[in-house]
Symmetry: C2
Subunit: 157 residues, 2 copies
C-alpha cells in the first residue's frame, strides 16, 4: 500500500489532533502565566529562574549552569536577568574562582517573592490541569509525553 509512505502528509484527523494539542497547551500556558502574574507579579520566566535559584545552595548559581538547568539560551537568560535585576529579584556578581562567569544570586526580596508565589502557583496548576484529569489520564499524558520526547530526541522527563 502507498498509504504509509515516509514523506506523506498528515491526514485530516492527524492535523485535527495536532491543532487541538498545541492550542490547548498554549491556552494552558498563557492562562497559568496570566494568573501567576496577577497573583504574584511574577512572570512564568521569573518563576523558573527563582525556582532554580532557590533550590541551589546559597541561592546562588553560575549563570551558565542556570541556563542549562532551565534549558534557556544564554542570551535569553542574560536579557531576562537584566530585567529581574532591575526589579531587585536577583543580583549578578562576577565570581572569583572562574575569571569569566557570573554568579546569579537571590536577593532577599527575590527569595521572599518566590516563597509567597509558590503556593498560589501550585494551586493553579492543580486547578487548571491536574483536577481536570483522572489518575489514568495522567498516566496516559505521561506516557504520551515520553513518547513524543523520545521521538524528538529530548532527554526523558
Amino acid at each position: 500500500m502507498g498509504s504509509s509512505r515516509r514523506r506523506a502528509l498528515p491526514t485530516r484527523e492527524q492535523l485535527h489532533v495536532w491543532r487541538g494539542y498545541v492550542e490547548t497547551a498554549e491556552v494552558l500556558r498563557s492562562r497559568l502565566g496570566a494568573r501567576l502574574q496577577s497573583e504574584t507579579s511574577l512572570s512564568a520566566g521569573d518563576y523558573q529562574v527563582l525556582l532554580a535559584l532557590s533550590e541551589a545552595s546559597g541561592g546562588t548559581m553560575r549563570s551558565s549552569t542556570l541556563a542549562v538547568t532551565i534549558g534557556w539560551e544564554r542570551s535569553r537568560l542574560s536579557h531576562h536577568l537584566g530585567r529581574m535585576e532591575k526589579r531587585d529579584l536577583i543580583r549578578r556578581v562576577p565570581c572569583d574562582d572562574d575569571v569569566h562567569g557570573i554568579d546569579v544570586t537571590l536577593t532577599a526580596t527575590g527569595a521572599e517573592t518566590f516563597r509567597a508565589a509558590t503556593v498560589p502557583h501550585l494551586r493553579a496548576v492543580r486547578e487548571m490541569f491536574a483536577d481536570a484529569l483522572t489518575d489514568e489520564q495522567l498516566d496516559q499524558v505521561e506516557e504520551l509525553t515520553a513518547t513524543l520526547r523520545r521521538h524528538l530526541g529530548l532527554d526523558p522527563l
Copy 2:
C-alpha cells in the same frame, strides 16, 4: 479522607506530568515554528493568517472576522497585519458596505508564498508529531485534549 480536598496542592507526580506536558508542547511549537521560518520565511502567525485568508472567498476577510476565526485579540492582529503588510503578504483596504471595518486581502505574493509553504509545513507536522504516535495514541490525545478544553471552558475542538 482529606486527600482529595478542594484547594490542595498537586502531588509531586502531578507536577511532574504537568511539567512534561507543557515543556514538550512548547518544544514542539517552537521547533515547528523554526522549521517553517527557515523553509518558507513565514512565521507560525503568518501561516495562520494566510491559511484563514486563503480559505476565504476572494482571499479576503473582514479584519474582525479574521480575528475571531484564528482566535486572536484585535490588537495582536492589528500589529501582525502591519508587519505582514510591510512584507507585501496582505493588504488592508477600508471596506465599503460597513463604515468601520477593514478588508484584509491576500496579495499575489502572499497567496503564492502560502501555497509554497503548505506542503513543507504539513510534512513537518507529520514528521514531528503524527509519526511519533500510534493511532490509539492519537485517539488518546484527542480525548485528553477534549477533556482539558471542557475543563477550561473552551469550545470543543
